[in-house]
Symmetry: C2
Subunit: 435 residues, 2 copies
């Protein structure tokens, strides 16, 4: 084993995201170590409620005074997750001044009063990471700042607030009124008891301010952004939008307008083929248009404990890598072993051309059931051709049995040619986490 | 002005991507310098056809022998863009051994014979960047490797080949046969004269091999990947898929299957709500599912001179940043200035509730035309309510005139309440490049 570089983290704020960071390191710390040679340790956790920290993170040192973290010479990275202006601003400024790297999810602070912080980070004594401030688990800050670094960025835009996107999705899919969709969002934890900050567009405003700063390398005055929320959108509008081939989304938009900028947040009609039009529920998405890349869009969970913790960890690793971790290519833990194709479990689409005579579907279904393959749906249409297409969608089955069945089906006299088989890939938006 | 860190690049291969890198630096080199303090200079270009290099890059030093670039002590970064196994492999191995950083777009080499290269890059003497090998202008390697570094990755999948996605899109949208769609793709330059490598899925195979290596940190044997192309897909299948609510896409898929992996390329039925189902034409997209983030997807141009050059430059900047460029936050060039909201040009959706009597549409249309706003479409339905909704979609107009018109319309006696106005954001997939 190579010697690990230790990163000593001081974590300030142990709410949703802070406890997520702790959970992530408990769960995936060893994977991160294998990938990066970094041993990321939470040395001290600061929270006013020390009892809740001790309950969730029994091994960690706990303090209630953030100054103890900034004063600790062993802590090299301060993670600020308390949000708001005060004392978050003091924490970040004092940490950077002390030469400590800072990782924060604080969009309000960076959007409204970020200039002093950015200036301090730019002097190079310590680094500032804020991937978690926009788009939760979507690595959109890095994509814009590093991925598109060679581009003149023409525009940035995005669905930057999960609460409003959830509400608009419910209005669209279930024809709910705004009020009913908001109540539903509150019941499911996607909206706060006082939802003003989200539904009036202020949260999206903070995020488009930050994206615009990166895209255009200009200081942005948050107060110069036109912000309009979704409270005036009626069910009528959702219906008419659909009828005309559009969807209504709350977008943050930053665009070049000659030498000036046009930055705003408002409900927007998007043609259904727009990459942002199909972003549903609490998901976020951004679209950056570079002069070299054309449109690049990213989509994922824009909030929540685990996705946002993932962004925090990504920043810690990036910053630590700069400070000495060699930039290796890919670290391998041995050779892969593979499952045999026959072991795969999938649903299948099958198209087979058969004579148009009675009993054929029964024979084919019999072959399938002999291999424990059950049929989900069938399409067979009337036709005056000698051979008619029979289309079957199966339930999940192993490939081995499926292909044996197909060989038997192909051998029937009444089948013309060979069956076409296409595997089905379903979409589970919940991800694969089973914590 | 701060002192710039000079990066001396040796560019090997001046085809589509190589000339794109030269073009990008000519065009955006000063933006990159402002953002990063890096002065990226192409010191020497190597190509067998020295005449075409001199025609396009009149100022550069040109050689036809790659060994001259590897032997040049002033060159710190070698960009390999000739593709294929030989001599690309020798170029990369000799460059890394000489302590030179390497940036490459060579997916075939990395997928089939990458182990020796990755091992050499991992010893830390020099860095290897290969963002351009997968997904063109989409920063998907960085998103997976850095953005999701804190995740146990459950699966990676993607539409990794633009040629086949273009063909499947034409089959889907215009009911073309495979053969006709292929001819169309060839005529438009999206398919090679010999399209075997793309349509049989080998190119997608190389890319899913590379993504799987990063996701699972396992050495992948390219020959162990099951690969099936799109040549057996008929128009029938496209139609039945649509009827059942699916789209057919050629996917590269890498998944965990217990302790083993399941890696494959084949045509796949995707439910229309799957994030990859709506990726059209020559666009590429990937979806990574991390245990912390859930699904994260990225979408953009997967090939072409400018997008791929953007990825090469991103790698050069990342690698140079590691070697000393301070990790600043955002570099600002002054304060932004803003256009006034009224100056914005947009199409608008307007809903207004009016009495149901003759001449009302004419009066409203008259107000709009007085502000040079022309109507694209109108929806007004029969109703037995006293006030009926009138929905108007306008052509592009300035916001100032639109809002003046709306104030006049709201003042009509026959109008109930205030009109609802929603701006339209169109989608131009060609991006904003006007080179």
């Amino acid at each position: 084993m190579p010697v690990r570089n230790v990163v000593n983290v001081g974590l300030i704020g142990f709410g949703t995201v802070g406890s997520g960071v702790h959970h992530l390191l408990e769960r995936n710390g060893s994977i991160i170590g294998q990938r990066t040679d970094l041993d990321i340790r939470i040395k001290t956790i600061c929270d006013l409620d020390t009892a809740r920290v001790k309950a969730k993170a029994p091994g960690a040192a706990v303090v209630s005074e953030w100054k103890k973290i900034v004063a600790d010479p062993e802590i090299d990275t301060v993670v600020e997750l308390i949000g708001g202006i005060d004392p978050a601003k003091s924490i970040i400024l004092e940490s950077l001044s002390a030469g400590k790297n800072v990782v924060t999810a604080n969009k309000k602070l960076l959007a409204e009063q970020g200039q002093e912080i950015f200036a301090l980070a730019n002097d190079g004594r310590a680094a500032l990471g804020f991937e978690a401030a926009v788009g939760g688990g979507i690595p959109c800050i890095a994509a814009l700042k590093s991925g598109l670094v060679g581009n003149r960025v023409m525009s940035v835009m995005g669905i930057l607030n999960g609460t409003t996107n959830y509400i608009l999705t419910r209005m669209q899919e279930e024809s709910l009124s705004f009020e009913d969709a908001l109540s539903d969002a509150q019941a499911r934890g996607f909206a706060e008891a006082d939802p003003t900050f989200d539904i009036e567009g202020y949260d999206a405003g903070h995020k488009i301010a930050i994206l615009s700063m990166i895209a255009f390398n200009k200081k942005i005055d948050y107060k110069a952004i036109s912000i309009e929320g979704i409270t005036k959108i009626g069910s009528f509008d959702i219906l008419y939008a659909r009828e005309m081939g559009y969807r209504i989304k709350l977008l943050g938009i930053g665009k070049r307008a000659g030498d000036r900028l046009d930055i705003r947040v408002h409900p927007t009609m998007l043609p259904v083929r727009h990459p942002l039009a199909s972003v549903q529920n609490e998901f976020n998405a951004v679209m950056f248009t570079g002069d070299m890349t054309g449109p690049v869009s990213l989509n994922g969970r824009g909030a929540g404990s685990n996705p946002t913790a993932s962004a925090v960890i990504s920043d810690i690793v990036q910053i630590a890598g700069k400070a000495g971790c060699p930039g290796g290519a890919i670290r391998f833990r041995g050779d892969a072993s593979y499952i045999q194709p026959g072991e795969r479990l999938s649903r299948y689409y099958m198209r087979v051309h058969t004579e148009d005579s009675p009993g054929i579907l029964a024979k084919i279904a019999g072959v399938l059931s002999g291999y424990d393959i059950s049929i989900a749906s069938v399409i067979q249409k009337e036709s005056d051709m000698p051979h008619v297409p029979l289309v079957i969608m199966t339930h999940a089955a192993h490939e081995e049995g499926l292909f044996k069945a197909v060989r038997e089906i192909n051998a029937f006299d009444f089948v013309e040619g060979d069956a076409t088989v296409i595997r089905v890939e379903d979409y589970v938006s919940d991800g694969a986490d089973d914590e």
